[in-house]
């Protein structure tokens, strides 16, 4: 009897154990089913840690929204960091990752690459989603949307903007004998088209002649957007507005290369600028050994204030430092600036596109974007950010916003990244004396027509 009882107890215990295990498994399954894991590809970039950081924060907000809606879904963001040294390398790497079917659900990229992803069908078209969620996207500056468009629609969400300029060291100009009236008038003269690209070389040469400063004009040592600003000043648009095809105009290319050629010939631009290290170049300018530094507004917040101790107070800063737009090529011509928005995009095969859109919508909230803007001196994406006291207090943003009136973008052509590699190579050829300005223009056209498709040459 006892034997029989113990058998029954054992059977009951086994049944209970099996039942609870089954229930637990079911519960785990339900939980797992409701958590949507979205992977975000982001380049490790000290000039914008909150680009992925804001998406992670946005997941909390979205989960609260989903909870309030009574939805069982929850979002979890996994950030996949890429060690690429620049946005171009990062985009090339990501294209390969998508090519082998290992792409993320969302990614952060430089805007000019978006159509390269679109051309290969890797990225989700967003027009309908943007219209569906006006609370997230409705107030983003219309001009910024241009940077997110490909010929057949919108494929990205602008994440930030900035302005590129020529910073200058007023102390050196004063030391070289320029009076304050001249120095303070430079930004306005540039905007009115009175100060020209060649005058920039002359000023740098004068300062170098009268002081011990070693460098006149410095620019980035690697492939990137800044020097394209000079090409745009000389009328190179790079895209045929009618057809959207890449456009190369020999004379205009030669004119832009000619400016760099003259700079080197006059001893103002170092022949080995492209062989120098980024940090070494920055150091030369911020420690008073270069007159002009062609770069972007975020350099102040990322390096100039924290690393080189430049005054972060507006009045003190402008007492000794300043910036101008890219001057016009000839007197009376149009000056320019370049903004290079970074964008969020969603993969065509994303696990849950709708949730990804809402997530990036939350990440584009004014307060989160302002966190990014004020900590890294990037420009915001929405007008309401201008009312944020933190934004107003970050004076470089307000002052750089003045340049947005004359700003240009890099063309959103799938092949522009490749063309820029060729342009950079030619620029290196000109500065090191391997190519004349005219030969550089020929080189760009030869290389581009041989390796890129549908290039229009004039």
């Amino acid at each position: 009897m006892l034997h029989c009882k113990s058998r029954t107890v054992a059977l009951l215990a086994a049944a209970l154990a099996a039942g609870s295990a089954g229930m637990m498994a079911a519960a785990t399954r339900t939980l797992a089913q409701n958590t949507v894991k979205l992977e975000l590809w982001s380049r490790q970039d000290p000039s914008g840690p909150l680009r992925p950081g804001n998406v992670v924060k946005a997941a909390e907000r979205l989960n609260k929204e989903l909870d309030a809606e009574g939805s069982g879904k929850r979002v979890q963001v996994v950030v996949r960091e890429s060690p690429a040294p620049g946005f171009d390398d990062d985009a090339l790497q990501l294209l390969k990752v998508f090519g082998i079917g290992q792409g993320p659900d969302m990614f952060i990229a430089a805007h000019e690459w978006i159509c390269a992803f679109q051309a290969d069908g890797f990225v989700l078209k967003l027009d309908d989603y943007i219209a569906k969620y006006p609370q997230h996207f409705g107030t983003i500056f219309p001009s910024l949307w241009e940077s997110a468009k490909c010929p057949d629609g919108t494929y990205a969400i602008p994440q930030d903007a900035e302005a590129r300029m020529f910073f200058y060291d007023k102390k050196l100009l004063r030391k070289a004998g320029y009076d304050d009236a001249f120095i303070e008038a430079m930004p306005k003269r540039t905007l009115s088209g009175d100060l020209t690209m060649d005058e920039l070389i002359d000023i740098a040469k004068q300062v170098m002649g009268k002081t011990k400063v070693q460098f006149g004009i410095l620019h980035r040592p690697s492939k990137g957007p800044d020097y394209i600003m000079v090409f745009q000043s000389y009328g190179n648009g790079f895209v045929d507005p009618k057809t959207g095809r890449l456009l190369l105009e020999r004379d205009k290319l030669a004119a832009a290369f000619g400016w760099f050629e003259r700079g080197v010939k006059e001893g103002v631009i170092p022949a080995n600028n492209t062989a120098m290290e980024f940090d070494a170049l920055r150091k030369q300018f911020y420690t008073g050994n270069a007159v002009f530094w062609m770069y972007g507004i975020w350099d102040l917040g990322t390096y100039a204030f924290p690393t080189y101790g430049l005054p972060s107070d507006e009045a003190t800063f402008f007492a000794d430092w300043g910036w101008i737009a890219a001057p016009a090529p000839k007197k009376g011509g149009a000056p320019g600036s370049l903004t290079h928005p970074i964008i969020y995009a969603i993969a065509a095969h994303a696990a849950d596109p709708e949730l990804a859109v809402r997530l990036l919508g939350n990440a584009s909230a004014a307060d989160l974007n302002t966190d990014h803007a004020v900590t890294t001196t990037h420009l915001g994406i929405k007008p309401e950010q201008l009312e944020d006291p933190r934004y107003a207090k970050a004076w470089p943003l307000a002052r750089a916003t003045e340049l947005l009136k004359i700003t240009r973008f890099l063309p959103n052509n799938p092949q522009f990244g490749d063309l820029n590699s060729i342009i950079f190579r030619a620029l290196q050829g000109v500065e090191t004396g391997r190519l004349s300005a005219k030969a550089a223009a020929d080189f760009v056209i030869d290389e581009a027509t041989a390796s890129l498709k549908d290039v229009v040459v004039k």
Partner: protein, 316 residues
């Protein structure tokens, strides 16, 4: 007759059962065959296949084509320059450092005190033993174009030069030859040293008794004994220099402009920097073909087959 039998035994081995011979074949040759197939034959086949496609930056093939080869022969204006530079780089490094300087090092370090010789050989081995990135970082510091660079410190403070010298812009080809040569010289040095040590000592004593000076001893005893090692080092280092570019990539990135873009680096830049994998594969095919041709020519020209049969540096 006895000598012939000995030679036959040396060539064919002692007569053994067929099963044992097969087992030996599997044990001794299989690993080499598997490695060769995995890391040479299969990559070559893949390379040739890719060279007939339009594989580009997103790793997609949309068509099979001969466009890449047409481009090599018709559209690539950089190629003649790149090939010319490769020729200068390979033969310059080989002639100045890998063979000549390696030989000089071997001769000098074997003719001085044993401990001192060993020390200097150790010093010259350091570049080869250092990780490539560390080695190039040291170079970058040494040739830094500002006053901070080691070379400029010496030139400006000791020799009184006014402006710092920028070797990267002024003499980039010399720079890649020297930086690669410092590494390459050590292989020749070791092989030549071993060969010199293999020469029976009594020959030098006999020559000295006959009145031969150091130069005559080198010319009539050492160099003839080194013919085979020199052949080996020349062929091996030619192939090695043809295909290796990591030090150049780290030091000059192939620049300024295309000044230090040797053929192998050109292939890399086309394929991996521009994402033109199909074109890169077609360019790489010629590298493979040239590599095989140089190896075969060298084999023939230097009569390497004889080198592998019997030790030649021993004097009967």
């Amino acid at each position: 007759m006895a000598a012939t039998n000995e030679l036959t035994i040396e060539r064919r081995g002692h007569t053994r059962p067929a099963a044992r011979r097969r087992a030996n074949f599997v044990i001794f040759l299989c690993p080499a065959i598997v490695l060769t197939v995995l890391f040479f034959v299969i990559p070559v086949v893949i390379d040739i296949a890719v060279s007939f496609t339009d594989l580009s930056r997103s790793l997609r093939i949309t068509k099979f084509t001969t466009e890449q080869y047409q481009r090599i022969f018709q559209g690539d204006r950089r190629l003649p320059e790149v090939i010319g530079l490769t020729f200068i780089y390979v033969f310059g490094t080989l002639a100045i450092f890998n063979v000549t300087f390696g030989l000089v090092l071997a001769l000098t370090t074997t003719s001085i005190n044993k401990i001192a010789g060993g020390f200097f050989r150790g010093v010259w081995l350091l570049p080869r033993m250092s990780p490539s990135v560390l080695y190039i970082l040291l170079w970058l510091w040494a040739i830094n174009p500002s006053e901070v660079g080691l070379l400029n410190q010496v030139l400006m403070r000791v020799l009184g030069l006014n402006k710092p010298l920028d070797l990267m812009t002024a003499a980039p080809i010399a720079l890649i030859v020297i930086s690669n040569g410092f590494i390459g010289a050590s292989l020749g040095m070791i092989i030549f040293t071993a060969a010199i040590r293999g020469i029976p000592e009594h020959l030098f004593h006999a020559a000295a008794v006959d009145g031969a000076g150091t130069v005559a001893q080198i010319r009539f005893i050492t160099l003839p004994a080194l013919r085979w090692p020199i052949s080996f080092v020349t062929i091996y280092q030619t192939l090695s220099l043809l295909v290796s570019f990591e030090y150049i990539l780290l030091l000059t990135k192939g620049g300024p402009f295309y000044d230090t873009t040797v053929y192998a680096l050109y292939v890399y830049r086309r394929a991996f920097e521009s994402g033109q994998y199909g074109y890169g594969a077609a360019l790489a095919f010629f590298l493979i073909a040239i590599g095989v041709a140089v190896a075969l020519l060298g084999w023939r020209f230097f009569d390497m087959e004889r080198l592998l049969q019997r030790p030649r540096i021993e004097v009967q």
